[in-house]
Amino acid sequence: MLTDFNFRIIMEYLPLFLGGLKATFFISGVSILLALATGIIACSARISSIKALKYPAIAYIEIIRSTPLLVQIYFLYFGLPTLGLRIPELQTGILALTLNSGAYIAEIIRAGINAVEPGQLEAGVASGLSYLQRMRFIILPQALGVTVPPLLGQAIVLVKDSALLSLISVAELTRAGQIMTSERFMPSEAFFTVAFFYMCIYFVLKALADWSQKRLIFREAY
């Protein structure tokens, strides 16, 4: 079983794993930032009263949430070239992760905004604040505190989801495990090392999420 676990091979392949880890960091970091922007835009469209904005946003969010990420990745990977758009795998992957997480983030932000009591909004209207002022001074400061823990939860999901990019041969952490498996045929060493690195990222993000759950909510919302 694990008695013949070969650490020497792991050390030999360490640069490959660290390169993969770096790529996973990069992909996740870029995707979460872009997804945040996408989510904010989609959420603004979703809660707006203009139908031309609202219904496309609903369609986007519901379509993304009801189909698997892997199908979305393949859709872009095999679909974009048929439209004549040839973009590299890495960008395709980041685009898929961004669109996917953006829909979930839009829903997280919307839930945060809905969590603000209607009385607060009415108080804002009664004080004669404009829509933007109400958002800026009343709704968002209260809503954002609530959204931080689920956003970090989404970041955890996104890091794990980025593993699927290995299937369109983006050189990230899981891909490093696949490469080592195919070169040396030592799947336990390869995939337990990969799992170990993902666990490290998970624990850091989880600790952050738990901390923000305890702290931010109470400071911002109450």
Partner: protein, 218 residues
């Protein structure tokens, strides 16, 4: 050209329904096993036995901390090294059961912990056995907290069945992947695959939303 591929796609449509059937089969079996396993683990996770709690905690952390695709690779490539040969289909079911039960375990444990302590004490002092306490007092009350995220988790599990395509199980995503090699119309093929997934998941998302609204009113 487009219409030529479209007519070819229409010709092979039974292939997609075979894939859909496989996806439904995997989803149904794993939802069933995950729910049972998840409830058993969740009840222990919310219970008093420190050692069991700790072991389940490690299990849950490992499953939640690693990508599902890595777990599938571990099961599919590493179990044979330990002398356990599994075909793709049972390996997929095993991976789904391990992954899903860990997530459902957390939902169930959260729901049980949300029941006030006084309810446990009342159940004990009414002379109910442990199973009766759970069945008659605790679980019915915690269902209010458990049910909406549980249905949401079902949607996630159904979508995660797409990942088992990597070990060659001929389900919907794999069918799309095989088809796109023959019919190079990625948009069309994966739109069809997406529509089929949508038709399963979307009703469940609506159900989850409905339950969330209903259970929230107290």
């Amino acid at each position: 050209m487009m219409s030529f591929y479209f007519s070819r796609l229409v010709e092979i449509y039974p292939f997609f329904f075979t894939g859909l059937w496989m996806t439904c089969k995997i989803a149904f079996i794993s939802l069933f096993t995950c729910t049972i396993l998840g409830f058993v683990l969740g009840i222990f996770r919310a219970g008093d036995n420190k050692i069991l709690k700790f072991i389940i905690g490690i299990y849950v952390a490992f499953v939640r901390g690693t990508p599902f695709v890595v777990q599938i690779f571990i099961i599919f490539f590493i179990l044979p090294e330990w002398g356990i040969q599994l075909d793709a289909f049972p390996a997929a079911l095993l991976a789904m059961a391990i992954m899903g039960s860990a997530f459902i375990c957390e939902i169930v444990a959260g729901g049980i912990n949300a029941v006030p302590k006084g309810q446990w004490e009342a159940a004990v002092s009414s002379g109910l056995s442990f199973v009766q306490q759970l069945r008659l007092v605790i679980v019915p009350q915690s269902m209010r907290v458990i049910l909406p995220p549980l249905v949401g988790q079902y949607v996630l599990l159904i979508k995660d069945t797409s990942v088992v395509s990597v070990i060659g199980v001929m389900e919907l995503t794999r069918v799309g992947w095989v088809t796109v090699v023959r019919i190079p119309e990625g948009l069309m093929v994966f739109s069809l695959v997406g529509i089929l997934y949508f038709s399963i998941s979307y009703p469940l998302i609506l159900l989850s939303n409905y339950l969330e609204q209903r259970m929230a009113v107290k």
